[in-house]
């Protein structure tokens, strides 16, 4: 029961920090002006064009594809795997489980392998390519280790040790309605959950901000219409009235 309470506290803390941190970051990105038109040209000439470009960046990693096929391949494996795994995990948080979440369950299982394989590929690149090794900081390696740790502990539960997922679900459903239900005593689930809490905590302070960052990147999200519409930020407009 002490473990249950510790994890309950940990998850409230981690989820709170994650939410507040991320909202803080996103509002600060939104608040800081982009005083000049700096899309990397040629860029779309309409808002709709920009939306399509963003979609290609988010779902296809278009720019990365132009840059490096290997990185693109491993990255796509990892992110697609991650996305499926996360969608599959929705079943722990809703009752009854939505039909489409049911539907993707079988794919989700293999997605775990895909995700870990992609991460290993990215790590290999980080170690083997001299340029990427040069730019890597300890935190870059640890981030990969953390995600691999999450993936592997999940896969072990799924395929080797098995765990009481009904109890886990009731623990998390309980947290969401502010009541505490017991967590199964199981080393793997403790590992999985501790690492996830850590991931949530570091998210708003780390390079994981690339996910929201992409949407705020002026070189990608601006429409190329500088000659047709005057674009001016509040601090720049002050220069004009000042003199």
């Amino acid at each position: 029961m002490t473990m249950t309470i510790m994890f309950a506290v940990l998850f409230y803390f981690a989820a709170g920090l994650f939410a507040v941190g991320l909202i803080y970051r996103i509002t600060s990105y939104a608040r800081i002006p982009a005083p000049l038109k700096i899309p990397t040209t040629p860029a779309p000439r309409t808002r709709f064009g920009v939306v399509m470009l963003m979609a290609r960046e988010v779902f296809l990693f278009q720019s990365l594809f132009k840059a490096s096929l290997w990185t693109w391949l491993f990255s796509a494996m990892f992110h697609a795997g991650l996305a499926l795994v996360l969608l599959r995990h929705i079943r722990y948080f809703v009752n009854p489980v939505w039909a489409w979440v049911e539907f993707i369950q079988p794919f989700g299982i293999y997605a775990g392998f895909l995700m870990v394989a992609g991460l290993l590929g990215l790590w290999a690149r980080r170690v083997l390519v001299d340029r990427v090794r040069y730019i890597s900081t300890p935190s870059d390696h640890l981030m990969l280790a953390l995600l691999i740790g999450i993936g592997v502990s999940g896969l072990i539960m799924k395929f080797i040790t098995h765990t009481d997922i009904v109890a886990i679900k009731s623990f998390f459903m309980g947290l969401m309605s502010f009541s505490i239900n017991p967590l199964p005593t199981d080393a793997m689930i403790y590992t999985h959950l501790s690492l996830i809490a850590l991931l949530l905590i570091i998210f708003p302070f780390s390079k994981l901000l690339h996910a929201p960052g992409l949407f705020f990147s002026p070189s990608r999200n601006q429409v190329e219409n500088s000659r047709d519409i005057r674009h001016i930020s509040p601090w720049a407009a002050k220069l004009e009235s000042g003199k």
Binding site: I32, T41, P42, Y134, I135, D140, F205, R227, I229
Partner: protein
């Protein structure tokens, strides 16, 4: 100069070189003296509180530029950009990889502006801002031509040019200005152009030019200055007034206006398209330089503003003029409307000389004798600021098509350089972004390697003997570095130089 400057050998395979740490750590461009700094309102070299000023400036910029803030946070160190910079490809110095260049600043950002960097600096690669760090910034942020090639490949569009600009602004605030750029900006403020050419000299030059052209063509082709009520105000880089091969393009513009019967003028107050304010990343300086153009346009009462062959100038004009000085369309504030009411909005404002020429050619108002260029086997070098920082025409990628269309309309022999070295992936000439100075010749020669390899390819395959471009900096840079790679320096020239050769004059 103790060491002899040599071109690096071409790469056998078209892949990134192995890293050579420290290869370019001693490349240092001359510092601006206190007088130059003072001219722009920047502190001189020996400021006591450089550290606090630098960090203060960084905080200020992080609050003013979303790009800087997002780019500092978002990079995942994926390395996609690591082999995309011509300076890295030419030198192998890992700090010339775009991401490593950003990290010079990111490490300091993390230390002073993020929680993990304050608590665990080693873990996230954060470090204090020391004199050594500032020196390192100075050296490596002057080995970036702000060409934006890296931003094409980054999955988040992180543009190292933005970071270089911010770094240079911080350096300026701490008294570490670059002599070359800051001296030139000072000249524009005082005299009106980068070269410091006063009005009298300008009149002389233009009169001489009219005589030369008369001798050549037998026609009275004018190069008017300060003509009130002219239709077009031409803003062109001051190098066009006398440097080779730039002047041949100026003659080309003159012939186009003459042949189409468009009245035009140059301005002695705004006798410069170049705007080095962009290079040092300083909004106020950039605006102040551009304001001369606004003032000239208002005083001369022109209907159209056209920009000559200059890469970064076209970026400033196309992307920033509307913001900075209201040259453009779609304003609803009194400041900008004053000028926009005067301009003729049947035409794009501002307009590139290539847009003007191509439009006239399409409507058969000007015509060409293609054979006049038969001695030239031509390729086209996309200048980085035109390719990745601006546009032309109404169509996506017009900045690639329009100049090529002109070249193909005025000449018979045209060949593209290999894929991946042109259009949006073009390689910089190696001399842009405030690097076009002799004290940086070593990095300029090395940085032109990828472009020279691509050029060699079409020289071998097709016998190319003319590389056309639309940038004054490219022209000067190539004139200088081509011989290091065994080419004739006259291999580089302007698009309007070709137009000048082929355009049919005479009375129509």
């Amino acid at each position: 100069m103790a060491i002899e400057i040599k071109a690096p050998p071409y790469r056998v395979f078209n892949i990134a070189p192995a890293i050579k740490p420290g290869a370019m750590e001693n490349s240092k461009t001359f510092l601006a003296n206190d007088k130059i700094q003072a001219g722009l309102g920047f502190p001189g070299q020996e400021v006591e509180d450089w550290h606090d000023r630098a960090i203060g400036k960084m905080g200020e910029l992080l609050g003013k530029y979303r790009s800087l803030k997002v780019y500092m946070d978002a990079c995942v160190h994926c390395g996609a950009c690591s082999d995309k910079c011509h300076y890295f490809l030419g030198t192998g110095d890992p700090k010339n990889m775009p991401v490593a260049r950003q990290d010079l600043m990111r490490s300091v950002y993390r230390r002073y502006f993020t929680l993990p960097g304050k608590i665990f600096p080693k873990l996230v690669g954060a470090r204090d801002l020391t004199r050594d760090v500032l020196n390192e910034w100075y050296n490596y942020f002057h080995q970036c031509s702000e060409c934006r090639r890296c931003s094409v490949f980054c999955p988040y569009g992180i543009d190292t040019a933005e970071i270089t600009m911010a770094a240079r602004e911080i350096l300026d605030a701490a008294g570490y200005g670059q002599k070359y750029s800051n001296e030139i900006i000072g000249k524009v403020h005082v005299i009106g152009n980068n070269l410091g050419l006063p009005k009298a000299a300008l009149i002389d030059t233009l009169e001489g030019l009219e005589e030369d052209v008369k001798e050549d063509t037998g026609l009275d082709i004018r190069f008017p200055l300060d003509v009130k009520g002219a239709e077009v105000l031409l803003i062109t880089p001051s190098a066009d007034f006398f440097a080779e091969p730039h002047i041949d393009s100026l003659i080309g513009y003159g012939k186009v206006f003459h042949s189409a019967g468009i009245s035009w003028t140059l301005s002695s107050m705004a006798s410069e398209a170049g705007n080095f304010g962009i290079f040092i990343g300083n909004y106020e300086q950039m605006r102040k330089v551009a304001l001369r153009i606004r003032q000239a346009a208002l005083e001369l009462g022109v209907k159209r503003i056209v920009v000559g062959e200059c890469g970064h100038a076209w970026r400033v004009a196309y992307s920033f003029w509307n913001t900075l000085i209201g040259v453009g369309d779609g304003a609803n504030d009194p400041y900008a409307i004053e000028l926009q009411k005067q301009l003729d909005h049947r035409y794009k404002q501002p307009m590139h000389i290539c847009e003007l020429t191509w439009d006239l050619a399409e409507r058969k108002i000007i015509t060409f004798d293609k054979e006049a260029n038969d001695k030239h086997i031509i390729t086209f070098h996309d200048s980085c600021n035109v390719a990745r920082g601006s546009g032309m025409g109404d169509m996506y990628g017009g900045q690639f098509e329009i100049p090529r269309n002109i070249v193909k309309a005025v000449a018979n022999h045209f060949h593209e350089m290999p894929d991946g070295t042109t259009h949006e992936q073009t390689f910089c000439c190696g001399g842009g972004g405030g690097l076009l100075t002799d004290d940086l010749l070593d990095i300029r020669v090395k940085g032109s390697l990828p472009r020279m390899e691509a050029l060699q390819h079409v020289v071998d395959a097709h016998g190319v003997n003319f590389m056309a471009c639309i940038c004054a900096i490219c022209k000067s840079q190539f004139t200088k570095v081509l011989p290091y790679y065994g080419f004739d320096r006259r291999l580089i020239g302007g698009v309007h130089q070709l137009v000048s050769n082929a355009i049919k004059l005479g009375d129509k």
